[in-house]
Each structure stands twice: as C-alpha cells, then as structure tokens.
C-alpha cells in the first residue's frame, strides 16, 4: 500500500534506495509477494534492454488464500474482518478444493486451520505446483526436441542451420548435460547462420566440425558455460572447417589413396 501511495516503482533496485534493506532481501520479498499474487510482473523491452516491470495487483484479484492471510496478519488492510468472512464464504469455500472446505469458522472470528492448511503446507503446495509446472514445461520441450530430431534429414548435407544447431546442442547435452532445446533458443543459431553464409559450409562438413570440436574440448574440464562452448566453436569455425575439409574424401580421392596403399603394401609379399 505504501508503494502505491509513494509512487515508487516496484523494483528491487529502486526500493533498495528508499529502504534500509539490501537489494537481495528486497528481491526475495518481491518474489514472495509475487507468489502470493499481490504483485505481478511482466517483461518489457525499452530500447535494447529487456526489463522486468512489477505492478501491484488490485486486492480484488488476489488469490483467496492470500486475502485470507493478509486479513489475518494485517488488521488495518483493506480486507476487514467482514470482508474476510465474505472471502471465506463466497470465494474461498466456493472455489477451493475439498480439503479447504474444512476451514472452521468459530464464533468471534477466530479461525482454526486444519494441518493441511498450515501456512507452511501452503508454501509446500506452491513449491510442488511450481515443480510440476517446471516438469511439464521440460517434458514439452523434450518432446518438441525429439520431434525435431525425427524430422531432420538423414543426410547431413541437407541440414538447415537449425538441424546443425540441434546436432551441436546434442553434443553439449552428452558432455555437459546442457539441454539441447535451451541452446537453439540462444543466439547460437544466428551466429551459426552467419558463419555458414560467410564460410559457405553445409550440414555434412558442419557435422564433422562439431564432431572434431567436441573431441578436442571434452577433456577441458574448465569449460562449463554453454555460452563459452558455442562462442568458442564460432571463433574456431574457420580452423575447424579447414581441418574437417581434410577429412572429406571423394571417391576419386579414395581411389588415389588405395593405389598409394597398394604400392606401400608390396614389401609384405617380398619378406
């Protein structure tokens, strides 16, 4: 309420200038308020920067359990005892699951919480639901990645930039357990497309370059940042291309090498 009245923008940085608490403490408090639906946040682009804008949510739109808690712990809030009862009777009891229906209202306004409605449990519930959401998102991404890999052509020479990016991401996943789908959404794909047009490479040579690159750096335990891994690949693109081209063998090359080999083996017949 103070925030709204003071007109201070709600960010950890600006609030830390007004209050005695530090930026981190305020940040974690804001995140708690976000969990309670008291504030909401969205990302906005300002020029080249993307910033998070926090706004206060009208109490009418707070989650029922938040309204209940605020009424209990902040007596002077807009949510009076009367409105607390209203919350319980109209929204809370109506919308909540069965387990919440056993909230007992006693004469005098005192409320007994069953063990399942302990504030600690509430935070556990919230944590559980957050974990579930995260897992769902992960599974959806994984499915999308698998479908993408299935769609990819078996012949690397027909690969698009995205196909190659997935191949690279797959290598990262095997060595450092960086998730393949998180790489393709990074700037890597753009950088790869740029390198491809500059050096005129195709999927088959890029596959070989990726293979070479990972073989070379897999022992380097100091690298653990995906950003560094792909940036190094782009930096070494030309060197790797030269190295990979050496390994690209045409049927004519092979014929020539076979002839050299035949001559080299002659001594074995004469020993």
């Amino acid at each position: 309420m103070y925030l709204q009245a003071s007109g201070v923008s709600i960010s950890a940085e600006s609030l830390s200038k007004v209050f005695n608490e530090g930026r981190e403490a305020i940040g974690s408090a804001l995140s708690e308020l976000k969990d309670l639906t008291i504030i909401s946040s969205k990302k906005e682009r300002i020029g080249n920067r993307i910033i998070t804008v926090n706004t206060l949510v009208d109490p009418d739109y707070w989650a029922p359990e938040t309204r209940l808690l605020i009424s209990l712990y902040v007596p002077n809030s807009r949510l009076s005892t009367n409105s607390l009862l209203a919350v319980k009777q109209t929204e809370y009891l109506g919308a909540a699951e069965d387990e919440y229906k056993i909230v007992n209202l006693k004469p005098g306004g005192a409320v007994d919480f069953p063990s399942s409605y302990d504030p600690d449990d509430l935070s556990k519930d919230r944590e559980r639901s957050r974990t579930n959401k995260y897992l769902e998102k992960e599974n959806a991404s994984k499915k999308k990645y698998e479908q993408r890999m299935q769609r990819r052509s078996g012949d690397p020479s027909n690969w698009s930039v995205t196909d190659t990016a997935f191949e690279f991401a797959n290598g990262m996943h095997e060595l450092w357990h960086v998730k393949p789908w998180s790489v393709t959404t990074s700037r890597f794909r753009i950088a790869l497309a740029d390198a491809r047009s500059t050096h005129g490479t195709t999927g088959d040579i890029e596959k070989l370059m990726i293979d070479l690159y990972f073989k070379q750096i897999k022992h380097d335990t100091k690298i653990d940042d995906p950003e560094i891994i792909w940036k190094r690949f782009i930096m070494q693109f030309n060197g790797l291309k030269i190295q990979a081209e050496r390994f690209m063998v045409t049927p004519e090359d092979m014929k020539h090498e076979k002839e050299l080999a035949r001559k080299s083996q002659e001594w074995m017949d004469n020993v």
């Binding site: 078996g154 070989l208 293979d211 070479l212 073989k215 070379q216 022992h219 070494q236 060197g239 790797l240 190295q243 050496r246 390994f247 690209m248 063998v249 090359d253 092979m254 090498e257 076979k258 050299l260 080999a261 080299s264 083996q265 001594w267 074995m268 020993v271």
Partner: protein, 229 residues
C-alpha cells in the same frame, strides 16, 4: 568373438591391461564383417609377419618395427580393425613372438590409446605424473627399464583429431613417439583421417617422410559406407 573370461590367466591379464574400449572387447578380425576382405587379408599378412618374428625387434631386418597406418573417413571401421588385430595378436601369438626373454614376464604387450590421450599423458609426465603414468609413457616409447612394461604392439587412434591449435611440441611429440618406437623395433598401428599427402602440412616434412618409411599405408573402406549411421 571370444569371451575374455574363458582365457588363461596370462592372456586374460594382457587383454585387461590393453585399455580396449568395452564395446570392442572380444573382437577378432573375423568379426569385422563390414570390412573389405582385401583389407583384412593385408592386416592378417602383417600380423603373420609379426608372429614370425619379422617385425618386433627383428634386428637388422628392413621390416623391423614396421607398423600399419590406417587411413579412411570416419565410421569406416579403422579403429575396429586395429582393435581386432590387437586382440587377435594377444589371443593367438605364442609368447616368444613378443620377444620376451626366458624366465621374464610380460605385463602389457599390447595397448590402445588415442593421440589426444598421448598428449595428455605427456602433459602429466611434464607436470609430475604418478608412477603408473610414468611407466605407461615409458612403455609406449618402449624405453621402460622393466621390459615387462614395454608395449610390443601399440595402437594410436585418431591422429589428426587432436586440438586445432596443435602447438609445436605436440607435433614433435607424434614424431618422437613414432620414431622412438620404430627405432626400438616396436611396431605401431595408427589410424588417421589425414591423407598421407596432407601430413607434410600438418606434421612437417620429416614426420611425413618418416611415416612413409615406418608404416605400411592402408586406405580402409567399409562395405556399406559410414557404419555409425
């Protein structure tokens, strides 16, 4: 394929100390069904020369220490053939083919290592290696004081796949390892994706010329192209 556990203790120990990648343990040349027959015949011919004591420490003979260089594109079975040849030697060679003095033992007659690992091993030796690492490195060169640890048949895999910014000492290391082994009459099988004519640019004239002298060149192709697909 053979089961290592069925072997007698000596050969079992040899196989277990050879650092064979687990996916290829128990393979012989008979198991390389995707390889061209002509390639297998040539490898067998070379192995029979080794068995007949015409290569390992065959002092005074031109064939002394002469190894095999497998060239080919990735996935055509170079490493598999090299590993199979190595295991066939450990499985079938009489002990005197490895030039073991009477009454002596042989701990590690054959060994498999990638060139990147040789570089790492050398790095450890420079920085203060453990006794085991030191013995392994000396054994790779064939210069270990205890002859039981000198590796008679060595496979160095993936030459040409080392770090793109290969510095001078690493290039010299390849020359040093190959030449020292050759000079000690110990054959090496190397696998590479680098064409012989490209060795000059990558490793220098001296190494390329030495490779011609010390290795029998084989261009390996599989019957069905890239086997990893």
């Amino acid at each position: 394929m053979f089961d290592v556990e069925d072997l007698k203790i000596r050969r079992k120990t040899w196989l277990k100390t050879a650092a064979i990648p687990s996916a290829r343990v128990g393979w012989t040349l008979d198991d390389c069904s995707e390889a061209l027959e002509e390639d297998i015949i040539q490898v067998r011919k070379w192995l029979s020369l080794v068995k007949d004591k015409k290569i390992i420490r065959a002092l005074g003979k031109q064939s002394c220490g002469k190894g095999l260089m497998f060239y080919g594109t990735p996935g055509h079975g170079k490493t598999t053939i090299a590993l199979s040849a190595l295991q066939e030697a450990m499985l079938t060679f009489p002990i005197d083919s490895f030039d073991v003095k009477e009454g002596r033992t042989l701990i590690r007659p054959c060994y498999f290592i990638t060139f990147n690992d040789v570089i790492d091993l050398k790095g450890s030796v420079i920085e203060g290696a453990t006794e085991d690492e030191d013995v392994l490195y000396q054994g790779i060169l064939g210069e270990c004081q205890n002859d039981a640890y000198n590796i008679r048949l060595l496979v160095i895999d993936d030459i040409g796949r080392e770090h793109a910014s290969l510095s001078g000492w690493q290039k010299n290391l390849l020359h040093h390892v190959l030449r020292t082994r050759f000079n000690n009459g110990l054959p090496t099988i190397i696998t590479t994706n680098v064409k012989r004519e490209d060795w000059v640019g990558l490793y220098g004239d001296a190494t390329e010329s030495f490779a011609n002298e010390a290795f029998t060149y084989m261009a390996i192709e599989s019957k069905q192209g890239d086997l990893r697909k």
